[in-house]
Amino acid sequence: MSVELNELQESARKVIGGAGLAANESATWSQLVELGWLLVSVPEALSGLSMGLPGACILHSELGRGLSAAPYLAATLAVDAVCQSGFSDREHWLDRMIAGELVTASLAESGVQTSGKHLCGDVQGVQSADSARHMLVWTAGNELVALIALNQPGIDIVVKNTWDQTRRLFSVRLNDIDLGEQVILAEGASAESLIRRLLVQRDFALAADAVGGAASILAMTVDHLQTRIQFKRPLAMFQSLKHRCADMKASIDAAEALLFDAARKVRHEPDSPDARIKAMGTKSFATTMFARVAEACLQLHGGIGMAVEHPCHLFLKRALLNEHLGSATNVCTQETARVLMAGTR
């Protein structure tokens, strides 16, 4: 990791760690806006920090570590889409977004279709939609990327009561939304490549969130085992528990190495098909790992892990939700196999 990235990580860990687990959403949001974190992957030409995917992964990982509620992932997708687009009003939008006006987006697969000059369909997994005035959408068929106002007629916003209490997801239904009145960011081939770029960022972000979350819950579990006394000794003295922690540590380290290796490798062409495959592989590996780690950590906590007063379950629920956001795990593995097979004589 470069010195720059290391510094970013250290300062983010200090900030997020200081706020405590699952800190208040709007306070975290204000803080990260203030710290300029929305600029982390914005190109230098647009006054950003130009730290690309590796920089984004650092921040997402720290936010996952702290079970952050802020809709940072959605926001950075929208910011990036605006940066990549050539529309006239770009700088104006960017200024507002960087200043903290949330443009949200979906963390799930798109269910949006164009029908003539209209947009229809369901958008699942939209982060903090009630705090946003606009939403980034892309179509399932890759024809179009647009910003749409959430307060216009034809938009139904429904809060989804996820088991994960650390983030707030909404589903947004688009009923014949007139494209003429929305901000079109990309169409045709450029939409296809922009969408790929967005999906790559989304999957990397979820993977990073998983890596941070897993490291955090493992640390908490080791602490628990060190202090919880049973049979007159700390649980941490029991070798079978030690070995399970060691296995978790190894798989977390593997996911982290994969994450930053892949992010570095595709940082210069995050809209390429290769980037997409790497993002899918990383996402499926990391979110599966997080889910298995969180499952095991709850077991290692024993009864107290079943009580809502202990934060253990917050990690488990976030981990299980992450598994179902972004690219579907079975699609990730099937696609990875397909690419290998296509490339093998």
């Binding site: 009561n161 007159k232 077991q299 079943m306 009580a307 007063e309 179902h324």
Partner: protein, 401 residues
Amino acid sequence: MNTGDNCDQLRQEVRTWLLENVPAGWRDAMTNVGQDAFVALQRMWFEKLVRAGYATPHWPEGWHGGGRSLSDQKVIFEELARADAPRLILYFVALYHAACTLFECGTAQQREKYLEGILNGQVWCQGFSEPNAGSDLAALRTRAERHGDRYIINGQKIWSTMAQYADYCLLLARTDSSGPPQAGLTYLLLDMRSKGVSVRPISQITGDDEFAEIFFDDVEIPVENRVGAEGDGWAVAQATLASERGLTLVELTQRMRYALPRLVRSMREQGCEDDAVIRRDLGSLVVNIDAACALADQYLTKRIAGAEQVGDASVVKLFYAKTLREFASLGMRIGGLESQYHSGFMRGATQETGHWMLDFMNSYNWSIAGGSNEIQRNIIAERMLGMPREPKSWQVVEGRP
């Protein structure tokens, strides 16, 4: 295993009765409702079962419904599972732990006093675990001090199932701290309305609060409420813990089998019924459930033959807990993102409700409570395979790994 005429006849009889008596649509009626509705359903179902004699088949002859053979009891449980009847969670401790303890270790007077009450619907809870004595019961610290004809209780219990509804509590407390830890325990029956008892339900990660903490502040218990001699609490507690071994696992494993169609229906709803990977995992789950059922069945057969060995129950519980987790995990994979949305909170439904995330979290009840997986593995390794026990005391010293 007896599969003779008597059993077949009983099976037919129970099946017919259940067909007419299981409250139709009770699952929906228990979804997103408050505790009162849940308690009312439990009470109604309890009364029906008691009247039919199906709540107490394990009680001795002479008591209402009692005197059934283990194989007859098995038939009843299998049919309850098959009919997807509600489980009697609220009365479980009363019907099994309390009753069996009283039959085995109680005085005639105690039996007379409490058993009739149980049949009339008194709710019992168990006061064994403490914050620092979960897997390690010998370490418990709630004190019972003898003052004349009373014990004065101070301390705290935790993970007591449904204590907030309980009329009585099976209490294990320390009367002596001087000798070996297990020797100083005494077993008492506590009226939960006694002065100084307070109950705090524990909010669980499922949203439920079926467990509670119980606090004791100078609570008085008359000496006649002691079961067994002072200091014999450990032995009496073993009788409590052994009281329902086997039958519950037969019922639960059978319930898994009868719940399989819920997975299939989920697959159809999600349009993944042709997904080869899901189908492979479903097929493998089906066989695991068959194995779990066979294990539970074999275990009960051994008990009937008086051939149970230490560790047998641990094997069944460990394998059940693992299979149950797999069941809920597959459900979540099938459900996809939807499985992560609250789909309603079903009270008293325990396992395999089709609310996969709820089921998943409930599955920890079986891997943690009642002797965690880790404790079961110790028992299997040490007492079935003869491997050395963990050392009694253990110095933390530096040394190569």
